[in-house]
Amino acid sequence: MGRYLLRRLLQLIPVFIGTTFLIYWLVWSVPGDPFAGKCGERPCPDSYVNMMTEKFKLDEPLWVQYGNYMQNLFQGDFGQTWSGRPIGDIIATAYPNTLKLAVVALAIEAVIGLAAGVLTGLRRNGFLDNLVLVSTLFMIALPVFVIGFVLQWVLGVQWHIIKPTVSSEMRISELIVPGFVLGSASMAYIARVARTSIAENRRADYVRTAIAKGLPMRRVVGVHLLRNSLIPVVTLLGTDLGALMGGAIVTEGIFGINGIGRQVFRAIVTKESATVVSIVVVLVLVYLLMNLLVDLLYAALDPRIRYE
């Protein structure tokens, strides 16, 4: 187990260097001079462009710029935006907001998705099953921004149940609707995966044995059936945290949340390589660590899986 963990952690290093370079290179090759559109319908004065070029060493070749960036990164310095704001500050304010939103979304999709999956998996072809099938189909088919705008308009503007945008305090109660919107598609997938998995294992030998032993149904489902059926769901949930954080840009925009999506979008448009890389690097780390966590959870859920 310890050696497995160490091996997995060491694997992070090449992945980390590879992704940072790839992203740095990609943003660097986005066409457009970062200062060309800066001063509106007239070109910026040469003196301004020169000062910025000098300050950010933009006339150096790509690998020198990347090397400088990595060198600073290892000293804990993420660099600066064109406007001179430390990128570390942006990460410190934007990440917690996105993480909070993603965790709320994850919790909502896990609870609702799993409940729907278990109920329909046990009683297939009933009314509830059909209802869940149709509603999940609907949720998967509708783009996130449609669900977001409709809920914002109906709940916020028409019925005044919520405020249309989230305040800067980011209270959990304000995040329920945005979280639901963000997690809606995944929620539908989780319900469907859980339903299939439960329905399949429902006919497994160990379930029949447990029922034959005379165990109460609650225990059969809650302990024996659920635990084994959770593996595909956990895989989905684990990788979903990263996907939710990275995909939160639309939801953040609709509900006015100051998260990483907005920052990445702004940075890509203005060619701020350092900002894009810094934010994405943290996102990559989230992905990698969540994957590791999921793999470790397999062993806990299924005793047949062992790591060495």
Binding site: G37, K38, D46, Y48, N258, R262, Q263
Partner: protein
């Protein structure tokens, strides 16, 4: 001009559909209980300033609006767009339009309590002009004598390997402090419009505290001399301002706190406005204009106004194909501007019929004869010009809502003239402007102009004079240059305007660009606000707000 930096992402484009899909019509709002008191607070819409708030370094609307609120210049522009009047200045006097004596009022203060003195203006201008400081608006000081000594040009442009030489001097020789309340400005050449320019944000004074710290540090906690002072700035979330109680000029605030919420998406702001959580939005989203939905949502709180800006399609005159004035005139005459105004903008932007926006002092209405719609004349001119070979592409930046009207123009040119015309989007404003600045456009392209200061001069010199800062199509006509020069150096504004009218008549013959529409603005406010006015450029006039 200032450029809006609101990201118009896919989110905004989806809005129209979503709102239709939810089947909503008019909405009532019960938000905003009217607390008509002098301690009232309002929350208004804004965008994150791109750079720290230093007046001579801000060129976009998000930071520009805040600077306009936090500072008061020597002169100010009345909301009706008329001629400027003295604000901090007691008097601005000249006999020859070359040497100006500026006396300032003795009782105005910066927000840190220090008095506004003559040297605060002189030092601020010298700082903005000094090229190693790299101020984005540095070239605005070019009228002043000695500008060339403090602002050196890069011999081979910013792209080239050579560096700009160190300026000879740190201060412009044309600026002299006479005493605490008087200074003298000597211009390189007589310029009648100079006092008009002084209300533009670049010419604001800076307190002594600015010069003892780094500009960026100052810009994060700016100190101005206007009716509101800075409280706090939470990046991408909000900027808080409050009334400056020691303000002595007459545009004092009737409310106390102003909270500027920094939205990334204008639809989010609009929904906050409609549900009563936001008190003012300067421009409602495009999606709400369809079918006049915004008027249904806001009722009598919807404000339709015009702004001194013009949407233009420019010719790259450096391209051989566009060097025949008859061809340019033919294309301009083939465009039905009224139809575009009605069908695409639902009447919110008016068809352009003059070269300078008619809201501008000195501008004449209807002096663009090339702006008429006359297909027969257009076809005749096109035949005289020998037709147009190949494809005519009209470029626009696809990251803002220009697609519809650009495509409509291209279609009209195609139908009416039989030219193979089409519109093509360039992904981002940055790439778009880079090609324009480098004079590498392969077809006509969208441009726009919003005046920096209210005078017709601002609509001619930057756009149509050889070497003008935004004359990107490289249009050049010696007679226009001579007239514009004479107009700029005329001893009085009346004479200057008369000369500019002559220059514009020549421009009208050459058709270096195609004016399409005059800017319109659709704003909205909450029920909490009982009274408000908009400034000459469409920003909220904070001092007019009553709750």
């Amino acid at each position: 001009m200032r450029v809006s930096k609101r990201a118009t992402s896919a989110v905004a484009l989806g809005a129209a559909f979503a709102l239709v899909a939810s089947g909503c019509s008019g909405s009532d709002s019960d938000g905003g209980d009217a607390g008509a008191s002098a301690d009232g607070a309002i929350t208004i819409d804004g965008t994150q300033p791109e750079v720290p708030l230093v007046p001579s370094n801000t060129t976009e609307t998000g930071g520009g609006a805040i600077i306009d609120w936090m500072w008061t210049g020597l002169v100010e522009y009345p909301n009706d767009g008329g001629a400027p009047r003295n604000a901090v200045a007691e008097s601005i006097e000249t006999t020859d339009s070359k040497v100006y004596t500026v006396k300032i009022k003795q009782n105005t203060k910066f927000h840190d309590g220090t008095p506004v003195k003559a040297k605060n203006f002189v030092d601020a201008w010298n700082w903005g002009a000094y090229s190693p400081n790299g101020a984005q608006n540095g070239s605005f000081f070019a009228d002043i004598q000695g500008f060339g000594d403090v602002h050196t040009e890069d011999p081979d442009g910013a792209e080239g390997p050579q560096k700009a030489p160190e300026p000879k001097a740190k201060e412009m020789s044309g600026l002299k402090v006479v005493d605490d309340w008087t200074f003298e400005v000597t211009l390189a050449a007589p310029t009648a419009v100079f006092p008009t320019k002084l209300g533009y944000s670049t010419f604001m004074p800076l307190p002594d505290a600015f010069f003892t710290q780094k500009p960026d540090e100052f810009g994060r906690k700016p100190i101005g001399n206007g009716p509101v002072k800075f409280v706090s700035w939470e990046d991408d979330v909000q900027i808080k301002l409050t009334r400056f109680d020691d303000y002595t000029l007459n545009d004092k605030l009737k409310i106390k706190d102003v909270n500027i919420k920094l939205y990334q998406d204008d639809t989010a702001a609009y929904n906050d406005l409609v549900s009563g959580n936001l008190d003012f939005q300067q421009q409602v989203p495009v999606s709400s204009l369809a079918g006049d939905k915004w008027k249904a949502d806001l009722g009598d709180r919807a404000i339709q106004t015009t702004t001194p800006s013009t949407g233009i399609i420019a010719f790259p005159i450096y391209d051989k194909r566009f060097q025949n004035a008859k061809l340019r005139r033919a294309i301009s005459l083939a465009i039905n501007r009224q139809e575009i105004s009605d069908k695409i903008f639902f009447g919110s932007r008016k068809p352009a019929d003059s070269w300078a926006n008619p809201l501008t002092p000195g501008a004449k209405q209807g002096n663009c004869t090339a702006c008429q719609f006359n297909v027969d004349e257009a076809r005749k001119l096109l035949a005289e010009a020998g037709g147009f070979q190949g494809e005519l592409v009209m470029y626009y930046n696809a990251d803002a809502s220009h697609k519809e009207w650009m495509e409509a123009v291209a279609q009209q040119v195609k139908t009416n003239l039989g030219i193979n015309a089409r519109a093509e989007g360039v992904p981002t404003f940055a790439v778009f402007r880079q090609n324009i600045n480098a004079h590498k456009m392969k077809g006509m392209y969208r441009a726009g102009w919003q005046q920096d200061y209210p005078d017709v001069e601002n609509w001619v010199n930057p756009l149509y004079v050889t070497g003008g800062s935004s004359n990107d199509g490289l249009y050049s006509n010696k007679d226009v240059d001579a007239l514009a020069k004479a107009a700029s150096s005329a001893p009085s504004l009346e004479e200057s305007h008369a000369k500019f009218a002559e220059a514009v008549a020549l421009i009208d013959q050459d058709v270096p660009t195609v004016p399409i529409y005059f800017g319109g603005q659709q704003s909205g406010h909450s029920e909490k606000i009982k009274k408000l006015e908009l400034t000459n450029v469409g920003e909220l006039d904070l001092s007019s707000v009553e709750l």
